[in-house]
Amino acid sequence: MNALASSAPDSAPAVAAGAAIATPKVEVQKLNVWFAKNHAVKDTSLAVQVHTVLAVIGPSGCGKSTFLRALNRMHDLVPVARVTGKVLVDGQDLYTREVDPVLLRRRVGMVFQRPNPFPTMSIEENVAAGLVLNGISGNHAEVVERSLRKAALWDEVKDRLGHAATSLSGGQQQRLCIARALAIEPEVLLMDEPASALDPIATAKIEELIHELKEHYTIIIVTHSMQQAARVSDHTAFFYMGELVEMGATEQIFTNPKERRTEDYVTGKFG
C-alpha cells in the first residue's frame, strides 16, 4: 500500500503498480506557483494516499510552505501569487471554478509555520473558533477539551480557558493552533513545521498525535528535522529550489535515496 503512494516526480503519480487502487486522497499534478517573477514551486507532481503521512523536507526557502499552502488555496489571498496545475482532493480539482474554496478549507485544515491565535479571543474561544465562526452550534466545551487533549495542551490550560490566547508561550500557542485545526475535524491536515517552537516533550506528544490522527486523517507535514520526518511519516518528499527532487517511502529516502542531492541533504552535507 505504501509503495503505491510513492512516485518519482517525472512519472505520472500513483500509477507505479498500475493496480486498481483507490484514488489518492491528495494528488498534485504539474503544480507551479509564482510570486510575481519568482518561480517558487516548479512542475511538481505527487500523490498522497488516504490515512498516510507525507513529510516534506528541504532547505529553507525551497518552497515547502508555498507548496503546502497551494493545497488549500491559501495563495488566493496573495495578489502577486499565480498557481497553475492541478490539485485533486478525492479526485476533484481544487483549482476549478466549481470548487468553493470555503468548503474545501473545511476539509483541508492547516497549521501555519508561525502560530497565529486570534488575539481577541480566549484560549477556549480560539479552539472553538472554527465552529463558532462558521455558525455551527453544539457542545463546544466537549470539542474544546477533546481538541486540547489531542494537541497535548489541556493540562497546561484547563484552569485558565478564559484567559487571552496571547498570554500563552510561543510553543503553547502553536499547540493551540493545532487544537483549533483539529476542532473542525478536517479530512486532510497540512502542518507547516508544527514542532519548530516546541520542547522535546511537547514535540514527542505532537508526533504521537500525528500517529493517532493517521487513523482518520491524511497528513502532510513540513519539517526541518530529519529525525522527525523519519519518525512520523510514511513517505517523504525532498524539495530543492522549488523542485520536487525525490519522493518515496521514508525509509528509502533516508537509507537509499536515488538522487545525489537527496543523499547530500539527508546526510547533512548541505542545507
Binding site: 488549500n72 491559501m74 489571498l77 495578489p79 474554496p101 470555503v102 468548503l103 474545501l104 478549507r105 473545511r106 476539509r107 485544515g109 492547516m110 501555519f112 508561525r114 497565529n116 491565535p117 486570534f118 488575539p119 481577541t120 479571543m121 480566549s122 473558533a129 472554527g130 465562526l133 462558521n134 485558565r160 478564559g162 484567559h163 487571552a164 496571547t166 498570554s167 493552533c177 483549533r180 485545526a181 473542525i184
Partner: protein, 281 residues
C-alpha cells in the same frame, strides 16, 4: 575627549529643547481648561442642565434643551454615520485596490478635509430647502457627512494593520470571506475602531458651523426630527455674541458642559476598549 563632551552637551541640549516644546504645547491647553473652568464653573447647577433658557434679565434658566438637542442630533448622526463610515472603511481595506476603491478613498480623503461650514451649506441644500424649514434631521445629516469620511479613513488604516496571518487562520478554518472580515478582522481592529468612532463623535459634537443653518436653534425642548433644534454649540455662539453680561457667563458654563461631554466621550472610549481577557498583552 572633546567629542565626548560635545556629544554630552548636545544630548542635554536636545533634551531641554524637547522639554521646552512640551511646555509650549501645554500652555494653550492648560489655559483653555483654566479659563473655561474658572469662568464657567460658577454657573453650574442642576437647573443649568435641566431648565429651558430664560429671557434676558431674568435670573436662572439653563441650557437643558441645547444639551438634549446636541445629544439627540449627535445620536441621529451616529445612527447614519457610524455604520456607513465603518462599512466603507472595511470595504476600502478589503477591496480598496480597484478603481472603485481608489475613487472612494480619494473622495473620502478630500471630504475629511472640507471645512465644516461647507458641509453645512450642502446639508442646507440637500435637506433644509426640500423640507422648507430647519430641522434636527438636517443638522444630523450635516454631522453624519462629517463623520463618514473621517471614520472610513481611520477604519481602513486600522484594518490594514491587522496581520494577514489572522485572515489566513480564519480562512483556513473554512470561514467565509465576509464572516472573516467582520468576525475576525474587524473584531481584532475593534478597539481602535471604537476609539475612532468616539473621537469622530466627540469632534462633531463640538461643531457649530454645520448646525447654524441646518438645525438653527429652538427656545424649547424638541426631539422631533423635523423641527428646529437647539444645540450646545449654537447656544454658546448665541450667548457669546450677545451684549449681556449674564449671557456671557452662560456661554462659559455651556462651554464647560461641552468640554465635559467631549471629555466623557474620550473617557468612555478608554473604558470600552480595555481588554476583557485576563493576561492579555
Amino acid at each position: 575627549m572633546r567629542h565626548f563632551a560635545f556629544r554630552r552637551f548636545m544630548n542635554v541640549f536636545m533634551t531641554v529643547l524637547c522639554g521646552v516644546a512640551l511646555v509650549a504645547a501645554f500652555i494653550p491647553l492648560i489655559s483653555v481648561l483654566y479659563l473655561v473652568i474658572s469662568k464657567g464653573a460658577a454657573g453650574l447647577s442642576w437647573d443649568f442642565f435641566t431648565q429651558l433658557p430664560k429671557p434676558v434679565g431674568e435670573e436662572g434658566g439653563g441650557i437643558g434643551n441645547a444639551l438634549v438637542g446636541t445629544l439627540y442630533m449627535v445620536g441621529l448622526a451616529c445612527l447614519m454615520g457610524l455604520p456607513v463610515g465603518v462599512g466603507a472603511g472595511v470595504f476600502l481595506a478589503e477591496r480598496g485596490d480597484g478603481t472603485v476603491g481608489k475613487t472612494v478613498r480619494f473622495v473620502a480623503e478630500v471630504l475629511s478635509g472640507v471645512p465644516s461650514i461647507v458641509i453645512g451649506i450642502v446639508a442646507y441644500a440637500m435637506v433644509v430647502i426640500p423640507m422648507r424649514h430647519f430641522s434636527a434631521l438636517a443638522g444630523s445629516v450635516a454631522l453624519a457627512i462629517m463623520i463618514v469620511p473621517y471614520l472610513a479613513c481611520s477604519t481602513e488604516e486600522l484594518i490594514r494593520v491587522v496581520p494577514t496571518s489572522l485572515r489566513e487562520a480564519s480562512l483556513a478554518l473554512g470561514v467565509t470571506n465576509w464572516r472573516t472580515s467582520l468576525l475576525v478582522i474587524l473584531r481584532t481592529a475593534m478597539t481602535g475602531v471604537v476609539t475612532a468612532c468616539l473621537l469622530a463623535v466627540a469632534r462633531v459634537a463640538g461643531e457649530t458651523a454645520p448646525l447654524l443653518f441646518t438645525a438653527l436653534n429652538n427656545q424649547y425642548w424638541n426631539v422631533s426630527p423635523v423641527q428646529p433644534t437647539a444645540s450646545l454649540t449654537v447656544a454658546i455662539y448665541n450667548y457669546a455674541i450677545s451684549p449681556y453680561e449674564d449671557w456671557h457667563a452662560k456661554a462659559w458654563t455651556a462651554a464647560l458642559v461641552l468640554l465635559m461631554l467631549v471629555g466623557l466621550l474620550n473617557l468612555t472610549s478608554r473604558v470600552l476598549t480595555r481588554n476583557r481577557l485576563k493576561g492579555a498583552r
